[in-house]
């Protein structure tokens, strides 16, 4: 901030301005974090139940964005049907991938499934490159962007207002709604109970009469539909999509999932919001070049001191 602040600020004015700046940056961070959180929710679910880091998850998110794009431009559907259609399409895609690529490898060593996941990721990216094109596409405007001033500190120099845009609200609300919905499914429904059982002990669950394959398919469907929703929201918030958009976003979401404790749903939500806010704060008060470095340093520190993640309980490995 050196040299930035005009001299005639009094101390209290200066402080108020800094507080406003901080709050505004926090709002910015929550927007970014909500998107990480949405992708992380799917990651964490799949990992929690199948113990598979689904590297193709970020690319399903990309397909979600493209599905939203196709539906919005070809059929001119409004936001909610568009979001819903992208979620359904990604759910079907997730189930198909699970059936074709992962199910035959269910009993194979974990490294084989992991490699397959990377293969699926590259396949999805290149299919989009081939059929739709490798270039950036402008995402259509489903909403008119609007900003609301939620707090105003009168006129004067510096940042005097706190603004929230409708897009920030939509992204955050959608993320929270989906998280609660997910939590409800996992905690309160019979399928959810079965999911938890499969996650706890696959063989025991099978002995209890649970159709493990069906539960895993449902898990993939739900996880992928969340990624699809995230894709459409990103298209709205940052209207530029391309086939490679899922790679870094997927990686960040994965970090967010680990941060909160892989397999724990509120953990993924929290991890995503922490990641988004941390990145924004680094940009706001540090240098843009340090952003990813600091995000990943946080990850390393958490893994060092709390290996099971912030929300995780450490469990001794069964041998």
């Amino acid at each position: 901030m050196a040299g930035g602040c005009p001299r005639h600020f009094t101390n209290s004015q200066q402080e108020g301005r800094e507080n406003l700046l901080f709050l505004q940056q926090l709002i910015n961070g929550l927007q970014l974090g909500s998107i990480y959180a949405l992708i992380a929710l799917g990651y964490t679910m799949v990992y929690g139940i199948v113990r598979l880091i689904n590297f193709a998850h970020g690319d399903i998110y990309m397909i979600g964005a493209y599905t939203g794009y196709m539906i919005a431009t070809r059929l001119n559907w409004p936001f909610l049907p568009c979001l819903f259609a992208a979620m359904v399409f990604c759910a079907v895609l997730g189930m198909t991938i699970e059936k074709i690529a992962y199910r035959p490898l269910r009993s194979a060593p974990r490294i084989a499934t992991l490699t397959t996941a990377i293969g699926v990721s590259l396949l999805l990216q290149n299919l989009v490159r081939y059929f739709i094109g490798p270039n950036y596409i402008p995402f259509p405007e489903l909403f008119k962007r609007q900003s609301y001033v939620i707090y105003s500190a009168g006129s004067g120099l510096g940042l005097r207002t706190l603004t929230v845009s409708n897009i920030q609200i939509i992204v955050l609300v959608t993320a929270l709604t989906l998280m609660f919905l997910l939590q409800f499914i996992v905690r309160k429904t019979k399928t959810g109970k079965a999911m938890r059982a499969v996650s706890f002990d696959k063989d025991a669950a099978r002995l209890m009469g649970i159709d493990v394959d069906r539960i895993i398919t449902i898990t993939f469907a739900i996880g992928s539909s969340l990624a699809g929703a995230a894709g459409v929201l990103v298209g709205i918030a940052y209207p530029r999509i391309d086939p490679g958009m899922g790679v870094l976003a997927g990686l960040k979401a994965f970090v967010a999932a680990v941060l909160g404790g892989v397999g724990i749903i509120p953990g993924a939500m929290f991890g995503g919001l922490v990641m988004g806010s941390a990145e924004t704060m680094v940009l706001a008060y540090g240098k843009s070049t340090y952003r990813d470095a600091i995000a990943f340093t946080i990850l390393i520190l958490i893994l060092l001191f709390k290996p099971a993640g912030l929300f995780g309980k450490s469990v001794s490995e069964k041998v």
Binding site: G4, R17, L21, Q24, Q25, N28, G29, Q31, L32, P134, N135, Y136, P138, E141, R145, S147, V149, L157, G158, L159, T161, T163, S165, I167, V234, Y238, P239, R240, D242, L248, E279, T280, M281, L283, A284, K287, S288, T289, R291, D292
Partner: protein, 384 residues
């Protein structure tokens, strides 16, 4: 009868071949060749693919016009084009392939400075002249004496926009937001800041982001807190569109300024209303009235059913400068062609009359365009 004449011809050809092969060891390089091959390196796919398309069409038009007039000193010109995907590694590979496999006499390309900077050392060490249409970074031609360009350089665009902001718009405060991973945007940002401050203006915020970033809210909030009158965004169209939208959503009212990276139809598709009223510097405007520009525009429109942009005009100029060099050198020897190109004086090009300075940068003026009603409107000419 026919058979005999064919045999005689074949014999002559074989003899000529032997003579030329023997001659090659001592005599100067063969001067008459059937085909003159020139290479094109441009991003045909990737994040700035529309740049590659324009570049290639510009070169194609120039070559077609030369060939229609009988080629260069009786030889037909052939284009070999390579895609660099806007990736420096691919650009270096493309240059190597064109030189070693396709045996090109000269190269036109690439578009982005980072790619040309990667391809140039290969052309330089093989003594093959390389001329970029649009790489504006200062360092490009400093690679060596075989490297040319048809456009003005980064410092000049930064200076032009600083001059435009303080003299034409009469503004005194500005903020800069640029991609720290890209030499092009960094060069423009540095020179804008330097010159704007030299002209008495104040740069209140000087913020950066990284390649591929989509979220600029943190930096924009910081910029908003200083309330600048000008926001300088020297990046390519797709990123500028995103930044403009987020800036307006935050309530930033500054005037947006930028460089020639804005020149694409997609700028308005991504930026929408937010980019309205922005100004950027460019090498060329289709509304230019010089006879070369008028005839270029009509030929381009007839050939490609599209209005030429600056990339097409500069690629067209670059190809013509290279071919003029080959014509004047009367040989395909790289060093002779280079010398002929460096010696050009007031060569009548579409984007202005070109002479080269000692660093092989052309000396000419710049145009300022305004984004208005989703279109580019000619605003002013700024001279160095």
């Amino acid at each position: 009868m026919k058979n005999v004449s064919i045999r005689i011809m074949a014999l002559c050809l074989v003899l000529a071949l032997i003579v030329s092969l023997v001659g090659c060891t001592k005599a100067p390089v063969q001067t008459t060749v059937k085909e003159i091959v020139i290479g094109v390196v441009a991003p045909m796919t990737g994040d700035v693919a529309t740049f590659g398309k324009s570049t290639r069409q510009g070169v194609e038009l120039a070559v077609k016009q030369i060939n229609d007039k009988g080629g260069i000193n009786g030889s037909t010109v052939v284009i070999k084009a390579e895609d660099d995907k806007n990736d420096p590694v691919e650009a270096a590979n493309a240059a190597l392939k064109l030189i070693s496999k396709d045996k090109v006499i000269g190269i036109v390309g690439s578009v982005a400075s980072k790619c040309t900077l990667a391809a140039a050392p290969i052309a330089q060490s093989n003594k093959i002249p390389l001329i970029s249409g649009t790489s504006t970074n200062e360092k490009v031609t400093q690679v060596g004496d075989f490297i040319f360009r048809a456009c003005f350089i980064d410092p000049f665009q930064g200076l032009v926009m600083a001059k435009f902001a303080s003299e034409n718009l009469k503004k005194t405060t500005a903020a800069v937001l640029f991609d720290i991973d890209n030499d092009y945007t960094k060069g423009l940002a540095e020179q804008f800041k330097l010159n704007f401050e030299k002209m008495g203006g104040k740069v209140l915020a000087y913020e950066t982001y990284g390649k591929g970033d989509q979220d600029f809210n943190a930096q924009l909030t910081k910029i908003k807190s200083f309330g600048p009158e000008i926001l300088f965004l020297p990046d390519y169209y797709n990123t500028v569109g995103l930044i403009a939208k987020q800036a307006r959503a935050q309530g930033i009212k500054a005037i947006f300024l930028g460089g020639d990276g804005w020149d694409s139809e997609d700028l308005v598709k991504i930026g929408g209303d937010a980019i309205e009223g922005g100004y950027f510097s460019n090498h060329y405007s289709p509304d230019s009235t010089s006879p070369e520009a008028v005839s270029f525009r009509s030929a381009y429109e007839a050939a490609f059913k599209a209005t030429p942009d600056a990339l097409a005009a500069l690629a067209y100029d670059a190809a013509n400068i290279l071919m003029e060099g080959i014509k004047q050198a009367k040989t395909t020897d790289g060093t002779a062609v280079r010398n002929a190109m460096a010696g050009l004086k007031n060569f009548k090009a579409v984007s202005g009359n070109v002479s080269f300075d000692s660093n092989r940068n052309p000396i000419k003026g710049a145009v300022i365009l305004k984004v208005q009603g989703g279109k580019q409107v000619f605003e002013a000419v700024i001279n160095p």
